[in-house]
């Protein structure tokens, strides 16, 4: 064999990180939450999750292969992440065909329409969820497959909003451990936090977005609680960051690369926006939960944030 020279511009080495590894890390970080959900809500969780992932991957493959007639990118695992996150935003009792429709909207409209991974302005899983929430409101808020001894068929957020439950009666241990009603992936704040810590450790996400979202929600609810007197001062902030999709949204949905800002400063603004909008919808809006709408709206603002929040140029003051 001969020695053959080849050439290209520098740099000549690469750090070795791949899109695939990042997506794999996200999947891994979601496993504890999936385990809690399966334990609390039953085996149907795994079935719905499997259907969601399989449909997302399949739709991505079919669209790329037959509609776009291009290279398929299902190997980058991003469709798996979308499928997993979509499932996590659905109640466990949802009919399987609704999941498939959600996957088609998430991948087909949310992602491929705009040019695939990295080009989508809105989080694909959220696009799917919001479509389903509007199209199938009954099935999307049917929590009857939930925990037997919990207040029937409703989430903590809905019960509190309807006045059926006071903040003082909320079982905070249940909120942390996931022994409650809710979408498959949003219960079990501790498991989600664990995943978040893993993502931070692996440097897949930075702390800015989750901290900004959850911090804003806590500060906002604290401000709302102050006029009501001292009794709710600690319950209100704690309840709002633990209940509903706060953890799932702040750690996994809002941090989606393509739809969140590129600089730390931008990430903070974006996170604060999500926190504020979520609280406004939760307290004064028509829906008990506002996380998905808040993220969706802030997704739309991201290009604007990117335009005005540039990194600090070396050698300049600001």
């Amino acid at each position: 064999m001969q020695t053959r020279l080849f050439a290209s511009p520098s740099p000549h080495i690469h750090g070795g990180e791949k899109t695939q590894h990042i997506m794999g890390d996200v999947v891994l970080a979601l496993v504890p939450a999936l385990a809690v959900s399966t334990y609390v809500l039953g085996w149907r969780v795994l079935m719905i999750t499997a259907i969601s992932i399989a449909s997302c991957v399949l739709f991505e493959y079919l669209i790329q292969r037959f509609l776009l007639k291009g290279r398929t990118t299902i190997g980058d695992l991003s469709a798996v992440v979308t499928g997993l996150l979509l499932a996590f935003n659905l109640p466990a009792g949802i009919p399987w065909w609704i999941v498939v429709i959600g996957a088609l909207v998430a991948i087909g409209i949310g992602k491929m329409t705009f040019g695939g991974l990295g080009c989508n302005p809105f989080n694909p899983a959220l696009t799917g969820r919001i479509f389903l929430l509007v199209a199938y409101p009954v099935q999307m808020t049917d929590w009857t497959t939930g925990v037997p001894d919990a207040l029937s068929g409703s989430t903590f957020l809905a019960n509190v909003k309807a006045g059926a439950l006071s903040l003082g009666e909320v079982d905070y241990v249940a909120l942390l451990s996931g022994h409650m009603n809710g979408s498959m992936g949003e219960i079990g704040a501790l498991a989600l936090l664990l995943g978040g810590v893993y993502l931070l450790w692996r440097r897949v996400i930075s702390w800015h977005i989750p901290v900004a979202v959850l911090g804003t929600m806590m500060v906002f609810s604290l401000c709302v609680a102050i006029p009501d007197g001292g009794a709710m001062l600690w319950q209100m902030p704690l309840f709002h960051v633990l209940a509903g999709g706060a953890m799932l949204g702040a750690i996994f949905m809002a941090t989606d690369y393509a739809t969140s800002p590129m600089t730390h400063k931008g990430m903070i603004i974006y996170g604060v926006g999500i926190g504020l909008l979520t609280m406004i919808i939760r307290l004064w809006g028509a829906y008990p939960e506002g996380m998905s709408f808040a993220i969706f709206i802030m997704n739309a603002v991201t290009p604007l944030i990117n335009k005005y929040c540039r990194p600090k140029r070396f050698g300049t003051k600001k």
Binding site: M1, Q2, T3, R4, L5, F6, A7, S8, P9, S10, P11, H12, I13, H14, G15, E17, K18, T19, H21, I22, T73, D76, S78, G115, G116, L117, G118, C119, Y257, A258, S260, M262, T263, R310, P311, K312, R313, F314, G315, T316
Partner: protein, 450 residues
């Protein structure tokens, strides 16, 4: 421990392959090819012709203008040709070819090995000697050293920073110099301090070279070198970048171009440049040789050679035993080095090492779409947005690229290195930067005409 303020990466340093190889003197080549451009600035004019006899250290290329550098014969013998030959990148450059006959040096050069420490020359005299000796920055940029040392009247140097960072993976020539030739470095630093009239010098060395730090400190204390401090720096690439090193050492950031380091009172020189300055000023020896590392995982042997300029690089590669199959030969290290496509090309002043990467090590991954992960933004040590600059260059939006400060780019490669989608970010940014710089110069020229 100090480091530079933003961005940066941590590639594995791979110094272990060659760091313990003592400096060997390379056997003199039978023929040398000496390019008339081995520096930033105007090419020098050859002042010898075919058939001329030259001595080692004799001036053969006269510098043209202020930003330019003299070129000297690195061996003695007969000039056989003055013509265009390909350099490492395959570009044809005017070179003087000398067929070696023995090794007879110019008489005024002091070839004794004894250390000559005392220097009573004035700043102007030192700078004149540095200029005559054709010294350029030996860290890789090849910027003429006398230009750096000529501090403008309206500005004042406060500190001399000596670059012993060697943050490029693999390379160990600066390291070997620090271990084996510390006295020469430190005496060179004293002379440089005299040249720019400062009483403080800081030698920045990354913390992965603790023995070099200890050795330099030891010699400083033992031989009473005043005002010279060795500062360990946290390991992080590209710490050896001039602006990054100044920020790490002084905490001050050089403003964006066209501002120069002197605007924050700093003058930066490389470790190996300090040795060249010592030899030029104290021994009248022009810049004709340097320490060069030849290294790579797949080589049969690795070395740190003291080699004469103009030596065809294939002679070094043959001594190290190039592996078969696909290989990439680099002038420099893997982050900023340039691929060599012609092995008959000569060794030049700015070459601190020749790195050999296997096809596998240097392979580029399959390009995917940008996922906007912002890892390039986080890695950029200049506070730029590589994903955006790359895209703007691809779309040929030169004005927008300029507005997003693409001219600030130092081409360190951190962006391409971190990209999980394997996008060749720097390839495009470089095109954008070159176009923007050309535009800026054209505008300046047009404004001058008016």
């Amino acid at each position: 421990m100090r480091t530079f303020p933003i961005g940066g990466i941590h590639p594995s340093d791979n110094k272990e392959w060659s760091k313990d190889k003592a400096i060997e003197t390379l056997e003199l080549p039978s023929e040398v090819y000496i390019p008339m451009i081995q520096h930033i600035g105007a090419p020098s004019t050859p002042i010898v012709k075919k058939g001329d006899k030259v001595l080692t250290g004799q001036l053969i290329g006269q510098s043209v203008g202020f930003v330019s550098a003299n070129i000297h014969a690195s061996v003695s013998g007969t000039v056989t040709s003055v013509d265009a030959y390909p350099n490492g990148q395959g570009q044809r450059r005017i070179m003087v070819v000398i067929k070696r006959e023995g090794d007879e040096w110019v008489e005024s050069i002091d070839r004794s090995t004894e250390l000559k420490r005392e220097c009573t020359l004035t700043s102007e005299q030192i700078i004149a000697k540095v200029k005559d000796a054709g010294i350029v920055g030996l860290g890789g940029a090849q910027f003429p050293t006398h230009v750096k040392l000529s501090v403008p009247n309206d500005q004042k140097a406060e500190v001399l920073i000596i670059n012993g960072v060697e943050c490029e993976p693999y390379l160990t020539s600066d390291y070997r110099n620090m271990i084996e030739r510390a006295e020469l470095i430190l005496t060179g630093v004293e002379i440089l301090m005299r040249a720019i009239n400062v009483n403080r010098a800081v030698i920045g060395v990354e913390n992965n070279k603790p023995d070099a730090i200890a050795h330099l400190r030891d010699i400083i204390a033992k031989n009473n070198y005043r005002g010279i401090e060795v500062m360990p720096l946290k390991v992080r690439y590209p710490q050896g970048g001039e602006k990054q090193l100044i920020a790490a050492v002084t905490g001050r950031q050089v403003p964006p171009p066209p501002a120069l380091p002197i605007s924050v009172g700093a003058v930066v020189c490389n470790i190996s440049t300090a040795i060249a300055v010592y030899e030029a000023v104290q021994k009248n020896k022009p810049l004709i040789e340097r320490v060069v590392t030849i290294t790579g995982k797949e080589l049969k042997s690795t070395h740190n050679y003291l080699a004469r300029f103009g030596t065809p690089v294939h002679e070094l590669f043959e001594l190290a035993g190039i592996p078969e199959g696909d290989v990439k030969l680099l002038n420099g290290g893997p982050m900023m080095g340039r691929a060599i496509v012609d092995v008959s090309a000569p060794l030049i002043k700015g070459c601190s090492g020749l790195t050999v990467l296997s096809g596998k090590e240097a392979a580029r991954g399959k390009e995917l779409q940008c996922i906007k992960c912002a890892k390039c933004v986080e890695a950029c040590p200049m506070g730029l947005e590589p994903y955006l600059l790359s895209k703007l260059a691809k779309l040929q939006k030169w004005d927008m690229a300029e507005a997003h400060n693409t001219a600030d780019c130092i081409e360190c490669g951190c962006c391409s290195y971190t990209c999980p989608s394997y996008l060749p970010l720097l390839d495009y940014i470089r095109i954008g930067k070159q176009t923007v710089m050309t535009n800026i110069r054209a505008r300046a020229a047009a404004a001058n005409k008016k």
